[in-house]
């Protein structure tokens, strides 16, 4: 039979005796391990899948759009230094009529070269085959849309392309690296049911859109080490005569940008959260071990007197701490693995990859274990060293009594502001201010965690409210296949169910201010637009000034321009004419970078006279189906964005993910708050058992004695509140900053109710701790404590 060395038996018994505290620490540590494995694992899965997918399917590095670029430009583009492959194609919006679906779906049609694979942005063919060059009605359909409607190769649907109604046959179901995250027009989140990406043969698209030997979309792949800005500049120069709207990098490609935002967030999570959890658990280990060693002072002396070496005493405590760490690693690994798989499944819903598996290679667990062990031993280091250094003769003597300072003066006592019991609690708190502060900090961290999770709904709600209730109040937006004369407004007004309609003009431009420039669109709006309004910096709707440009703050900041200053406006689709326009003001906008101008002013600015590009409409809901049918049949319409449905879809998704996110964050925050408060209270009880028992003997009731502990705990938890709010606000601000891009910005809004909910959760956890500790106060052994010397 193997017998454990006596010291190891002591380790096991100590663990059994301290199980509740040990478990509390292990759980906090497990949170660190879990977030590390979850975030790092998900990050790896996503980034490696992305990399492999991009690589194998030759996802572009640079993208550009033009009005009509002749095919022969391809050679000149390919000759640009650093370019390894060029693909030119036709990309146009469409309106789809899907059987069993009342509303029209928005579509994006892209051309496929015939007889060869695309040099850039290849397709992953899931089933079926790609369209053939000779057939004009064949399409390869994006798998998400196909899945949402149960469509398969051989099925057909109708679509309006360039104002012509066509019957299309599905030949294959595909995935594309360009559309891993696919947003329909006007949508804030992907809606598989209402947005379709489909590919058609080049020759078919050329015919449909009158684009013989021409393209409007260019993608490039670059050689390793190529000078991206140089290529962008040269490409822009080549495309300029053909209505180039400005080349951009991957960073600004929509699907990539969203995927990248997720990766950034995961990477931030992996970097920020685990260290904080591990620091908190290191602090807890430090707290519990220093108390244990104080209690076992005489035992340590005895061990050394018996001939145990200092290092074996140190090793004994290191073992204890290591077991706690491994317990945390074990729990955290299981939880991290589970959550990681869950997260990956969730990603598979949003991001369309041919394959996506949770990558939890063993090294991740090893790293987590090593880091946790370092954290635990780091926390224990000073206590272990103290035990190792304690000379046996000193250890056998009781420690000097603690010295307290009269931090609450005698005067206040005589005025009876505080009872002696409260004074005891507060003085004890101040006796070890660093420990008290760290304990508060631990609690405030759990609070901050909650605030930083909960505020997102406040911000999103605010953004949605501003975007949809104040700025974009239209039910739908119709895009014209080509810019048309203003008379088209009347045609749209005559569509069934249309209550009001407003016409807008979109004009791609380059805005220049000094050395800075930005390629954006100017939206021409009527002065008193009701369906799409501009908002001042206080988010109030304002009238469009008759002259001058209104810039979103984000754009004005990027250009470094202020109201009153003049901007160079280059009209990229009109021979690059440059005009000077005054900046009339800055406006609030959370989506896109579009500048605004009075439509008459814009019409006057651009040489080809008054034009309309798109229309916002309000719809009589009782006649929706009539309108849907009409839209599907109306020639001249290029696309439709059903904003009322986008809003509903967004809300639904927010509510869904909010619930699960809230559950996860509350669980973690409660674990941390509980771990910190419970350990602090237990240690307090251990340190003060004797004096509390004395109070009981003197005649104080259990409730009164508990009050002493409660005062200290309450102070710690209360101080943690403002600290946690502040910390949470800071974390929220950091997150918001990380999210900001040219595509969208999230406003930082933290409502009082968010602080209140977070505090309520943490205070409840603390209260639960208090009740558990209260039971222990009731069990104080009065006689034993009085008979022994501390």
């Amino acid at each position: 039979m193997v017998t454990l060395p006596v010291l190891d038996r002591k380790v096991i018994r100590d663990l059994k005796r301290l199980w509740a505290q040990v478990l509390a620490i292990a759980l906090v540590m497990a949170c660190g391990v879990m977030t590390l494995i979850l975030a790092q694992g998900a990050y790896r899965s996503l980034s490696q899948t992305q990399e492999t997918y991009y690589d194998q399917y030759r996802f572009g590095h640079i993208f550009a759009q033009a009005v009509r670029a002749p095919d022969h430009l391809k050679e000149r583009i390919a000759a640009i230094d650093g370019v390894s492959a060029v693909e030119m194609r036709i990309v146009r919006s469409a309106i789809l009529d899907i059987p069993q679906m009342a509303e029209p779906a928005a579509g994006m049609a892209l051309s496929l070269p015939s007889g060869r694979k695309p040099a850039v942005n290849r397709l992953y063919l899931k089933t079926g085959r790609l369209p053939e060059g000779s057939r004009t009605n064949e399409v390869a359909l994006d798998s998400r849309f196909a899945k949402a409607h149960g469509l398969k190769p051989g099925d057909t649907f109708s679509a309006t392309l360039n104002g012509k109604k066509l019957h299309l046959e599905i030949t294959g179901i595909i995935l594309s690296p360009e559309f891993i995250y696919a947003l329909g027009p006007g949508d804030l989140v992907p809606d598989d049911r209402r947005f379709a990406v489909f590919f058609m043969a080049q020759s078919a698209m050329e015919g449909l859109f009158d684009m013989k030997n021409a393209a409007n979309d260019i993608s490039l792949r670059l050689l390793r080490g190529a000078c991206t800005p140089c290529v962008l500049e040269k490409l822009d120069r080549l495309l300029k005569p053909y209505g180039g709207t400005g080349a951009y990098k991957r960073k600004d490609q929509q699907s990539h940008a969203f995927l990248d935002a997720e990766l950034t967030q995961l990477s931030a999570m992996a970097k920020v959260l685990p260290p904080i959890f591990l620091l908190v658990s290191a602090f807890l280990v430090n707290m519990i071990l220093s108390r244990l060693i104080a209690l076992e002072r005489e035992q340590i002396g005895l061990l050394k007197a018996c001939g145990y070496a200092s290092w074996s005493v140190a090793g004994h405590y290191a073992k204890l701490v290591s077991i706690v760490a491994f317990l945390g690693v074990g729990i955290g690994s299981v939880a991290g693995n589970y959550m990681g798989r869950l997260m990956t499944q969730m990603y598979a819903q949003y991001f369309s990859f041919p394959f996506l598996v949770f990558d939890d290679s063993p090294d991740l667990y090893l790293i987590a274990a090593v880091i946790s062990l370092i954290a635990a031993l780091g926390g224990a280091f000073s206590s272990i060293m103290k035990a190792a250094r304690l000379p046996p003769a000193v250890a056998m003597r009781p420690p000097a009594p603690p010295r307290f300072r009269s931090f609450l003066s005698l005067r206040s006592q005589r005025l009876r502001i505080l009872s002696q019991l409260s004074t005891m609690g507060l003085r004890h708190l101040m006796h070890n201010p660093l420990r008290s502060l760290l304990t508060s900090l631990g609690v405030s961290f759990s609070l901050a965690l909650l605030v930083s999770a909960l505020f997102l709904t406040n911000s999103m709600d605010h953004m949605i409210n501003v975007a949809f209730n104040k700025a974009e109040t239209a039910d739908a937006r119709l895009t014209l296949a080509d810019d048309k004369a203003p008379t088209v407004l009347g045609d749209i007004m005559r569509l069934p169910g249309v209550l009001t309609a407003e016409a807008y003009r979109q004009e791609p431009v380059i805005l220049r201010f000094g050395p800075k420039e930005k390629r954006v669109a100017i939206t021409g709006r009527p002065a008193k637009a009701a369906l799409s309004r501009i908002l001042d910096l206080n988010e109030r709707a304002i009238e469009m000034p008759s002259t001058g440009l209104m810039l979103p703050t984000h754009l004005a900041n990027q250009l470094g321009v202020q109201p009153g200053q003049m901007l160079d406006v280059e009209l990229t689709q009109h021979n690059s004419i440059i005009k000077q326009v005054r900046v009339a003001g800055v406006i609030t906008s959370y989506m896109g970078l579009s500048a605004s101008m009075h439509i008459d002013a814009l019409n006057a600015l651009v040489p080809n006279g008054p034009r309309i590009s798109d229309l916002a409409v309000n719809i009589d809901r009782t006649r929706l189906n009539d309108l849907y049918d009409a839209v599907k049949e109306t020639p001249g319409l290029g696309g439709i964005a059903l904003q009322m449905l986008s809003r509903a879809k967004f809300r639904e998704l927010m509510d869904q993910s909010f619930t699960s996110m809230l559950t996860a964050y509350i669980t973690i925050a409660v674990i941390v708050a509980f771990g910190v408060v419970y350990n602090a209270a237990r240690i307090q009880l251990s340190e003060r058992g004797r004096e509390l028992a004395s109070l009981r003997v003197i005649g104080f009731s259990k409730q009164e004695v508990f009050h002493v502990i409660l005062v200290e705990m309450a102070m710690i938890v209360l101080i943690a509140q403002p600290l946690g709010w502040l910390l949470g606000y800071g974390m929220a601000a950091g997150m918001i900053k990380g999210f900001a891009s040219d595509l969208f910005r999230i406003p930082l809004v933290v409502l009082p109710s968010t602080y209140a909910i977070a505090s309520f959760v943490i205070l409840s956890a603390a209260l639960a701790c208090a009740l558990i500790v209260r039971r222990r106060v009731g069990k104080l052994d009065l006689i034993k404590t009085l008979k022994t010397r501390e």
Partner: protein, 235 residues
């Protein structure tokens, strides 16, 4: 005839640990009268502390009854015992049991805050000769001083009885004498019934009555016609 404060009748106390029964008290009867000072003498384990704990409401008797001013303590609930300790009993222990985070004055005020008719904490400290040490914390005082603060704390609420368990056990002769002088002064000036446990036989000379414990029972008892002053007691 003085009024009896405590009447203990045939008290037994049996502890059962690991199926072994330990008879700590085997039928102790004793009456303590108002204003008297008694000393309980006996070797370790003779049952004197167990008996004092039962009188003070810290522990329950296994059989027998204890009455305090004609109330039967035996039937008291825990909260009633707490109330009893708070209102009537002052304790003094071998290891002082002061609250380290409170200074001398505050340690005394701890009891005066919850007592019905207490002394002023300063007055109580002056009674034990520590009027000038009120703002000192326990860590800043000698053992004897700490014990006198403990006595001041015990008597500040004007208890009916003062129960002292080895009050000089951790002290040297000189400081021990100061402590005993404080106890005697309180006994005389406030008329507090005082019971002192000790295994120092010399202390018995300052008591009105002496009980000698042995093996959980009273082996003998005697009275001192002329109790001595602590300074006269040689130990």
């Amino acid at each position: 005839m003085p009024t009896p404060v405590f009447i203990a009748d045939n008290i037994t106390k049996t502890y059962t640990t690991n199926k072994v029964e330990v008879h700590a008290l085997r039928g102790v009867s004793m009456t303590l009268y108002e204003g008297e000072m008694v000393v309980l003498l006996g070797p370790s384990g003779s049952g004197k502390s167990t008996f004092l704990n039962i009188l003070g409401g810290l522990d329950n008797a296994t059989t027998g009854t204890v009455s305090f001013l004609q109330q039967n303590l035996t039937n008291f609930s825990e909260s009633k015992l707490t109330r009893f300790r708070r209102d009537y009993v002052g304790f003094v222990f071998q290891f002082y049991n002061l609250i380290p985070s409170l200074n001398a004055w505050e340690n005394v005020a701890l009891t005066t805050e919850i007592a019905k008719n207490p002394l002023d904490p300063q007055e109580a400290l002056e009674l034990v000769g520590l009027g000038n040490r009120s703002s000192h914390f326990p860590a800043e005082m000698s053992g004897g001083e700490q014990q006198r603060v403990a006595i001041a704390r015990a008597i500040a609420k004007r208890p009916e009885v003062l129960l002292c368990d080895e009050p000089t056990g951790a002290l040297d002769t000189q400081t021990g004498t100061l402590v005993l002088e404080a106890l005697q002064r309180i006994n005389v000036e406030l008329g507090t019934t005082t019971a002192i446990i000790t295994h120092n036989t010399a202390i018995q000379e300052m008591a009105n009555r002496v009980y000698i414990f042995k093996d959980g029972a009273i082996a003998s008892t005697h009275e001192n016609e002329q109790p001595k002053q602590p300074s006269e007691v040689a130990w």
